[in-house]
């Protein structure tokens, strides 16, 4: 095994957490490699040096502060599940208000009253129905009313005479 691989296993070896198979491999390598033996000894010294850092004690007020903060926690009652969280309640109220407001808004395209709407629909239907007739040239040329109105528009005095004759 290479020195680099041994180095990675040295920590577990030194803190006695390496498996017996790993221990055997490392010990065989250390027996024949001065550099890795040196490194293992330095790791061991690092490990011991860390013990020199003194521990600190929590302050006298520590426990009291924890108890104070715990006591300040809101107590939950048996009906706690029934009371919704403030944020959720606020969101629901806002949604409800928005729905009501939207429902009360006047429609952007006002609907005609019933009778007027029906008349308009009939007028549109008739216009569409007559489209075929208006597009038929033969029918239009034989249609007296149209020829009369055209002549009347071209010779209004003659049309007036015809009218008076007809009245007589």
């Amino acid at each position: 095994m290479k020195c680099e691989d041994i180095g990675k296993g040295l920590i577990a070896y030194l803190d006695r957490r390496a498996s017996s198979a790993d221990r055997r491999v490392i010990e065989e390598h250390l027996a024949g490699c001065a550099a890795c033996r040196k490194r293992a000894e330095e790791y061991r010294k690092v490990w011991m040096a860390l013990d020199e850092v003194p521990a600190i004690e929590p302050s006298f007020a520590f426990d009291a502060r924890v108890r104070q903060r715990v006591a300040a926690e809101p107590q939950r009652h048996w009906f706690g599940w029934f009371v919704p969280q403030a944020r959720l309640a606020f969101s629901a109220a806002l949604l409800l208000a928005l729905t009501v407001w939207l429902a009360k808004l006047p429609p952007s395209n006002p609907v005609m009253p019933g009778a007027t709407a029906q008349a308009q629909e009939e007028q549109d239907f008739n216009a569409i129905k007559d489209l075929g007739v208006l597009e038929n040239y033969d029918v239009l040329t034989k249609f007296d009313a149209l020829s009369q109105s055209a002549a009347a528009s071209m010779h209004p005095e003659k049309a007036q005479q015809d009218d008076s004759t007809a009245n007589d």
Binding site: K2, C3, G7, K8, I11, A12, D15, R17, G32, C33, A34, A35, C36, R37, K38, R39, E41, E42, Y43, K45, V46, W47, A49, L50, E52, V53, P54, A55, I56, E57, P58, S59, F62, D63, R65, V66, R67, R69, V70, E73, R76
Partner: protein
């Protein structure tokens, strides 16, 4: 027969505040020390430790003993510490835009010359501070791994769960951390190579 931590936490869940007090007494010192070594400030460490206990108390109703109590406790503490360290670092970065930082953390760690008889010249307090600063200079996740491994004496599986990584990743993390410490603490730990006859050269 003494109750386990898990049993005590289940009692806290059932409304027994005396059990919470017992857990507070048992873990206040390890937690404050762990957090102090992580954040390197006594007041912040105490604040964070209080926050850990408060979170334990708040979570009592949802507590299920799926892991060791210490795994859960130190996972809360580690997450709080990592957040605090990161927040503090960003805070310092913000300050450094306006004014040069001149505290001891910004100064390079001065290692005594190797030829000095360090053991003779360093008094105990300076040695401790020297070591503490070397720990403090580790990247925060490596630092947490070393503290849990060395001071809390946790096994690899537990530390891996706390740091939310695989055991393989944890071993690499610990190797890099101890290697950095070996270099940083060289004046305290370095020793000459004593090569025996017929030994192989480093590969």
């Amino acid at each position: 027969m003494a109750r386990s931590d898990v049993q005590m936490m289940l009692d806290v869940k059932a409304g027994d505040n005396a059990s919470f007090d017992f857990l507070l007494q048992k873990y206040r010192s390890p937690l404050v020390n762990f957090l102090y070594r992580m954040v390197r400030d006594t007041a912040t460490a105490e604040d964070l430790a209080q926050e850990v206990f408060l979170r334990v108390y708040r979570a009592r109703k949802q507590y299920t003993p799926s892991a060791k109590f210490t795994t859960w406790l130190f996972r809360i503490a580690t997450n709080l510490a990592l957040n605090s360290v990161r927040d503090n670092r960003y805070h310092k970065m913000g300050i450094s835009l306006d004014a040069p930082v001149s505290d001891e953390d910004s100064a390079p760690m001065e290692l005594p010359a190797r030829e000095m008889r360090v053991d003779d010249r360093m008094i105990e307090r300076d040695r401790a501070e020297f070591i503490r600063r070397a720990i403090g200079m580790l990247p925060e996740k490596q630092r947490a791994a070393v503290l849990l491994h060395k001071y809390e004496e946790m096994d690899y599986g537990e530390i891996a769960k706390i740091l939310e990584c695989s055991e393989g990743a944890l071993k690499s993390l610990l190797f890099r951390a101890y290697e950095t410490l070996r270099v940083q603490l060289a004046p305290l730990v370095t020793q000459p190579i004593t090569q025996g006859a017929g030994e192989r050269r480093p590969s």
